[in-house]
Symmetry: C2
């Protein structure tokens, strides 16, 4: 069965990833609608050529072929779809791409709610940061029915550099993203631990950074985040509290699967300590501030 070509999509959640994804949809020629609580974000998307903008998706729910949910967590996703009744307002057959980082359990419970309204779902977390989202090159790890993949192909083409098809079972996309976050979180915490030890040993941190980033001890996160420590600049690109959330999702996943995670549970403790010490809203590299007895570089004025 050839599904009708998707023409219109609403992007809900115009944060750093959602704004980039929405603009990519506009560039790809899709009728693109934007929904956010922020009036500034709505105006920005309107100027970029949005077909419609609103604080409330109900204003154009009946013309949509697809919805791309780029909200922060499962609670927000469920609030939009069910508490605010968007699921009831969409036409049957509309495809909902859920791209928040959520648990497999939450993905399955959202799927059940969408099914009651004959809506398709793609469990499709994303990675790559604002820069990749802006140029339509996000990495998407997705699971769902062939029908959902087919219907959302124009949106995937517009927003992704790479789409991984994890299978048909809703929850697999969420799980792959969570395992990815396990690595990302442990790598930031390990980078902080290593740089803290270097500071304790009176190794200049810029030199330590230079050695590691040119050797086998490097990681994507070390290279990206420990630069902030070297510069003494904890302006958040992504916050400590995001990894408290994501490593708790890792922990929840381990509990459901009955599986021990010695490193991830340790990293969760480190981020949780950093948040309780008052650094939750700082850049996630501020997890290094849990270590006492060292002097870290200060930001140049």
């Amino acid at each position: 069965m050839e599904s009708q070509q998707l023409q219109s999509v609403a992007v809900i959640g115009l944060g750093s990833m959602g704004m980039g994804a929405a603009k990519s949809c506009i560039r790809a020629g899709l009728d693109t609608y934007g929904v956010d609580l922020s009036t500034d974000a709505l105006k920005e998307l309107e100027q970029a050529g949005a077909k419609g903008i609103s604080h409330n998706c109900a204003d154009f729910a009946n013309v949509l072929d697809a919805v791309l949910l780029l909200v922060v967590n499962a609670r927000q996703a469920k609030a939009v779809l069910f508490d605010n009744q968007l699921a009831a307002q969409l036409k049957p057959g509309t495809a909902v791409m859920v791209s928040a980082t959520i648990s497999a359990e939450d993905a399955k419970s959202i799927e059940a709610g969408l099914k009651e309204h004959q809506l398709l779902m793609l469990d499709a977390p994303v990675s790559g940061g604002a820069a990749k989202a802006n140029v339509g090159e996000m990495t998407i790890m997705a699971s769902g029915s062939q029908e959902a993949f087919a219907k959302l192909k124009p949106v995937l083409d517009a927003t992704a550099g790479k789409v991984y098809n994890i299978g048909t079972e809703i929850g697999m996309g969420a799980t792959v993203k969570i395992i990815h976050q396990l690595l990302a979180g442990v790598h930031i915490a390990a980078g902080a631990e290593a740089m803290a030890l270097a500071a304790r040993a009176n190794i200049p941190l810029d030199l330590m950074y230079d050695v590691v980033t040119n050797a086998a001890g490097n990681s994507w996160m070390f290279e990206n985040r420990m630069k902030h420590v070297v510069d003494g600049d904890y302006t958040p690109t992504s916050m400590v509290d995001i990894f408290v959330k994501d490593l708790n999702l890792v922990s929840d996943t381990a509990k459901v699967l009955k599986f021990p995670l010695p490193l991830a549970s340790t990293a969760l403790n480190m981020f949780t300590s950093a948040s309780n010490a008052g650094f939750g809203q700082e850049d996630d590299s501020a997890v290094i501030k849990i270590f006492d007895g060292i002097e870290l570089p200060k930001k140049e004025q």
Copy 2:
């Protein structure tokens, strides 16, 4: 003071790194001597153009301007220099480059022993693997006197792609290498933990590998070592027991500096468990075998 140009060097320890370094010295036009317990290794270096080979460095100690020690640990380095009395046989002013991964304490004690014989020392651990050593592109993180750096410049030029000058204090090179190994060890253990969780969640490991290596959760070690897990091939490139040794060096360093290392201590426990379970001589990625209740890929026959 212009020091006399170094002409001859003995490389002691012709393992994967030492053989590459020795061949690089030959290519650079240095009179190169090779010392190893393995007759095969000596023959290989002789055919590559060595000026001399022997099981015992005493055979040519009196003609050497420099020694490059690429043995496995501090015990071996001390055995060669002091138990076997090489230090007493070298000409005063000869430069000894100690490139084993050892503690700062051991580096300092070796320095003290060499000083008694008026020998120069460079505390110069290396990184990069056999491939980089073979093409004279090792990464060297070195500390020592300006005189030692100057004297060894021809050897450094011949063997290194990058030389980091960590300072004049012996022990700083060792410490930088140990902190690097903290990251390398934690990254392998974290990769194993993530892949084990993926196996538990029935995510195909080749797909998980593909996602991570194309996203922000990647590390040099994940990309290099988790391929072995995907292939089910634990033929050692570097063994589990090497990280038991190196993470114990990390732990010793933390003890001396009185510093907590939550992730490194956890990773040490994981490698130690893997070794006790019988996997010590397998590839270090075999640390994944400490996780029960999962099925891992088998090597294709």
